[in-house]
């Protein structure tokens, strides 16, 4: 047994579970806004071309891209104006000083919603802090998985690779990419993290994604897909293995007027960087005499969740964990 001691690890576990609480988020972002640049506030998406992979490989031939990663531009507050803050946030810098939309096609940077879907997205955005109907509650606020693609703009995460598999270990669950070419699940099975079949093309992991239950939203700004969405993901890794761009095309005639494409830049996190509980939640392992490596002690959410309740009913929050073990 370990004694409960005062150390930063407890803080980091705790923060990872409640970091979505608006109060915490404001505090975090205020301290990192212009002047205190961190990864989250990069403004540009680096150009990374698909091509050969000349870096290290695993025994099964996969490019070795294991480690801790996170996106480099803001978080899940806003899908199309990543550094514009969540709906209703008026503290943002002028638009021209913020990173561009994650949507790169169409060129206007907007998700090409059908009119009814645009109206629903705006309804979600307008009710983020006033969820007068259950469907307005942001699922991640209750520790449902971030799903595809939101998991890539929430907390940092770990990529692990095994023969035949690439795994994403998110704070909201585990996503398995199957590289063995087995057929997709039947269309009537839907999953939060969807059903993923991947293969490597040089420096690019190409993943075909079906069976998305589409219950997760893309951001607090309310963008969404339907269960019929088909996503093609390309994870394009840089030559030095330090960055990758996530380029995903969304096809869903139920919701959109045409297929569209988004990009999320990501960067490796590691040696020399202090864990911050958001982008980099790995901890330096206590392994004297070995090359430094990182581990993530435990990915929990609902076990510590309480502060999210503030979104729904602040006055009642204090009682929200009373009956739990």
């Amino acid at each position: 047994m370990l004694v409960a001691r005062s150390n930063p690890h407890f803080f980091s576990l705790f923060l990872s579970a409640i970091a979505c609480a608006p109060v915490w988020l404001f505090a975090q972002e205020a301290s990192r806004a212009p002047g205190g640049e961190t990864t989250r506030w990069e403004h540009e998406v680096p150009v990374i071309h698909s091509g050969e992979w000349n870096g290290p490989r695993l025994t099964d031939g996969q490019p070795d891209v294991q480690g801790f990663w996170s996106n480099t531009i803001a978080n899940h507050n806003n899908w199309t104006d990543p550094q514009g803050g969540e709906p209703g946030d008026t503290r943002s810098r002028p638009r021209k000083h913020r990173a561009p939309s994650r949507v790169i096609d169409p060129p206007d940077g907007q998700v090409p919603f059908q009119p009814w879907a645009r109206a629903l997205q705006q309804e979600f955005a307008a009710h983020l802090y006033n969820p007068v109907k259950p469907q307005y509650i942001e699922p991640l606020a209750r520790c449902a998985p971030g799903g595809v693609p939101k998991s890539f703009i929430w907390h940092g995460y770990e990529i692990r690779q095994y023969p035949g598999y690439v795994l994403f270990l998110f704070d909201s669950g585990t996503r398995i990419i199957h590289l063995d070419g087995k057929p997709h699940l039947p269309a009537n099975i839907k999953l939060w993290n969807a059903d993923s079949r991947g293969h490597w093309e040089g420096n690019t992991l190409v993943v075909d994604v079906t069976s998305n239950n589409a219950k997760a939203r893309f951001g607090r700004s309310g963008e969404f897909a339907s269960e019929n969405v088909h996503i093609t993901e390309r994870f394009i890794f840089s030559e030095d293995g330090e960055r990758y761009n996530y380029v995903a095309t969304f096809t869903d005639p139920t919701v959109y007027t045409r297929p569209w494409t988004a990009i999320i830049p990501a960067r490796r996190r590691g040696v020399g960087e202090p864990p911050d509980g958001w982008h980099f939640s790995g901890e330096l392992a206590n392994a004297p005499g070995q090359p430094p490596f990182f581990e993530h002690y435990e990915r929990i959410c609902v076990e510590n969740n309480g502060a999210f309740g503030q979104v729904a009913a602040p006055a009642q929050h204090a009682s929200s964990s009373g009956a739990r073990p």
Partner: protein, 261 residues
């Protein structure tokens, strides 16, 4: 009779030392545990022997959700509780389901994760072996190389593994003590040390043992033993049981806005 004891001892010794079957699949010289596995018993209801029962509070569901009977998966039949710990077990049992973290979709802890009534996947690598559970899409890393003491107490603890011949031996410590062993109130303290042994009987069966040592709770170490079966259906795939949304009413009911009259 000494003769009988000797025979018994020899049998035990033979069982313990029995090598894995020669025809098990292998990976890098070691048994290949890759696959989707599941316990086929009612240990998650109660590790000890129990009769079939109805759940009184769920009478509206009739015969749909009974507690199935089960033989004990505890070697020797009973968990050797210290007297005070037995009282705690009885209290937790009386207060089930609220006393059980499973009710709220919290992490299941070790060894319970292994015999929850859902599949889990073993993914075997060089540096570590990852177990991914359908339940909560939880995962657990078994460190095969980077052994170290647990840096922090957690629900699932820290697992260090090594091979003893063809048996994967995993030692897990660093528990926060909040998980339980089953739905019948069986429990442990943060002092728990679990030593698990995964031995392939053949390509489709793992002989699983977990020895629990916790001087704050038990009078001596004791052992769980059960087979784990492989999902052999074509294209078997782990499907997530992301249960947090199923527990929303329990977790957040008090946050609901008052109903409009």
């Amino acid at each position: 009779m000494p003769g009988v004891s000797l025979v018994a001892l020899l049998l035990i010794a033979a069982f313990s030392a029995r090598p894995a079957a020669a025809d098990v699949p292998r990976l890098g010289g070691k048994p290949n545990l890759n696959g989707i596995w599941q316990a086929m018993n009612s240990a998650n209801w109660n590790l000890e022997a129990h009769s079939a029962q109805k759940i009184d509070s769920q009478w509206e569901l009739g015969a749909l959700f009974p507690i199935p009977a089960g033989k004990s998966v505890v070697v020797g039949g009973k968990i050797p509780y210290l007297p005070e710990a037995l009282k705690v077990r009885d209290k937790l049992r009386a207060e089930w389901p609220n006393s059980d973290p499973e009710t709220f979709c919290y992490l299941p802890g070790i060894p319970r994760a292994t015999y929850m009534p859902y599949p889990f996947q073993i993914i075997q690598g060089d540096r570590d072996i990852l177990m991914v559970y359908s339940y909560a899409t939880a995962n657990r890393t078994i460190f095969m190389k980077d052994h170290q003491d647990p840096p922090i107490d957690s629900w699932m603890g820290r697992s260090n593994g090594h091979w003893e011949g063809d048996t994967l031996v995993v030692e897990t410590t660093g528990f926060n003590g909040r998980a339980r062993l089953d739905r019948a109130g069986n429990h442990f303290s943060p002092a728990l040390k679990v030593v698990e042994r995964f031995t392939m009987e053949n390509a489709n069966v793992i002989r699983y043992e977990a020895t629990l040592e916790d001087p704050q709770t038990y009078s001596r170490p004791w052992t769980i033993r059960m087979p784990l079966y492989k999902h052999v259906e074509e294209n078997a795939e782990l499907l997530e049981l992301k249960c947090v949304p199923f527990a929303e009413e329990l977790l957040y009911k008090d946050l609901e806005l008052p109903a409009k009259k």
